[in-house]
Symmetry: C2
Subunit: 347 residues, 2 copies
Amino acid sequence: MDASDDKGRGDGARQRPTINDIARLAGVSKKTVSRVINASPYVQKETRARIQAVMDETGYAPDPQARGLAFRRSFLIGLVYDNPNPQYVVNMQLGLLDGMRGTGFELLVHPCRRDSDSFLADLRGFIERQRLFGVVLTPSVSEDERVADLMAEIGCAYVRVASVALDQPAHMIETYDRIGGQAAARHLADLGHTRVGFISGPPTFRSSFERREGFESGLAERGLRLDPDLARIGAYTFESGIECARELLGLDPRPTAIFAGNDEMAAGVLQVARQMGITVPQDLSLVGFDDFEIAQRLLPSLTTVRTPTREIGCLAAERLLGLEARDDRTPDERLPALIVRQSSGPV
Amino acid sequence: MDASDDKGRGDGARQRPTINDIARLAGVSKKTVSRVINASPYVQKETRARIQAVMDETGYAPDPQARGLAFRRSFLIGLVYDNPNPQYVVNMQLGLLDGMRGTGFELLVHPCRRDSDSFLADLRGFIERQRLFGVVLTPSVSEDERVADLMAEIGCAYVRVASVALDQPAHMIETYDRIGGQAAARHLADLGHTRVGFISGPPTFRSSFERREGFESGLAERGLRLDPDLARIGAYTFESGIECARELLGLDPRPTAIFAGNDEMAAGVLQVARQMGITVPQDLSLVGFDDFEIAQRLLPSLTTVRTPTREIGCLAAERLLGLEARDDRTPDERLPALIVRQSSGPV
DNA sequence: CTGAAAGCGCTTACAG
DNA sequence: CTGAAAGCGCTTACAG
């Protein structure tokens, strides 16, 4: 087939130019065009400019499937997750796409269940079948060493998003949840609370531990400690928040403040408080974690710790693709930050 | 390269078998293997069995990139959406993946902004660059005729998910929002409400119109009509729900029931009611639409209309891939259904 | 029902 | 710095 065949095709979908068309129009071999596509330094400046001009004029874009076949590796990135929170998932996807913009890579989604018997086999099949360029792993998949081992074994690039460094820097984006827990503690201590309750996430999430550690260290800074009688283990779910809140708010004396490990559980606490006639923030201060949409929907609106998930996703994509030179953000923008709303106040 | 080269590779990642390996092991040409892969009828029964056995033993899976290159079409499906609700997006993705399971197709996500100047050009680039097999369009992208025209022009398979038939059956999955609106009206009328308010979504979503039409027809069935003074136009957002609720609940006499076009706006209504000292459901009955997670988090929990988004997504994928023969669901499972909770009661 | 040849649009390995 | 040949793993078009 020759590019001159193009004329006369009446189907409206004009044939896309190929590397051969560009080579012919620019008067070079296709190997030289290939060098321009792949940013090889071994192309004379004028030759490069001429080829680039032809590519621009014709709107040429290399075919990712053909390139992938020759490279033995696709231009696809997989997002592997088992996180149940839709807002986290969507924000992460948006962030990854931010980081991938203009690269020609595309995003494949792969929700999964880590407790499934076929979890690892499915994941392996997904990656090998598509010859993925790499994957981004989010909690709790990112905290599973079997997954990291699998990636190493099959030679798949990966970045783990987790609350703390679990791997070499090249494979990690940290969310520093500990700092968020610390901010919550300082906030409550500064409001004068001394009898503070805590509801953690489940032990299967590393963030549960990190948020607690941060909270305890923040209290310690202010000369306080977390009374073990005021600590409960939840499951990051609304229902578990309700359950733990019933216990904590049934104590006598009860805590004057509660830090919940995430917004969902904080919403449960708020509901129990209301049912028990405990007014927030007058009788009880409440702080959550995540700053998902629900935090603004609650009445009173929820003081919480925001993790910039979209920004984290962007960083993860950039790290995976080796694009971080273009990163001009200050480090602070990716750290958890306290958002003060109506649910917290002085003792 | 020969398959016998495989031994000795020490990198742990054993070379995948190719169509040539299968052909050699089965003692046939690769064209015949190709026929088995593509379920061609022109293969002798025993030959097919022998080839299939070799494929099973070796764990052979055809390379989608190589197949895609030869087919001039990838094995990728795109989800194109501009829906702002994370739960909708995630459920839709899960449903699409349900419908694609076992087919070898994968899901690419493409969030977009319909109001962007480059919206159509970006979409076209995305589809052509990846040579997508097809796309699933959800509201409000699915309601944009320019998009349908573009798909026809570039010859891309597509399925539109929308509240009402906007296209030929092969390109449509309907969600029948009208039926949901009707169910809400019947419910409120049966509870004895005659002075009912309505808050619609924005005119840019076809569902706004359909839900209202259904609501009006449901009222009409019970000999009631929607008083135009009790109707407001919202934007499917929490804030717009608050705004419209302030107006409706400030009327004298005020409505004894309100049907909000979605759960987000219903959450806004509930907040205003609470601030005004109006008790739900004693002083005001409230019904939403969607049954997103927030419906169960509210106090009182929200009576609402559930659209089975995940099931709809599964159907959309099956229609796109031509797999509907395997559909054994009853039609009713995909229809909107009223979920009665605490926010609605007798006048 | 089966196969040898050519091609999909790129890159690698080699040569100059 | 540039190019001709062979190959990536499949399918199409043709022949038998």
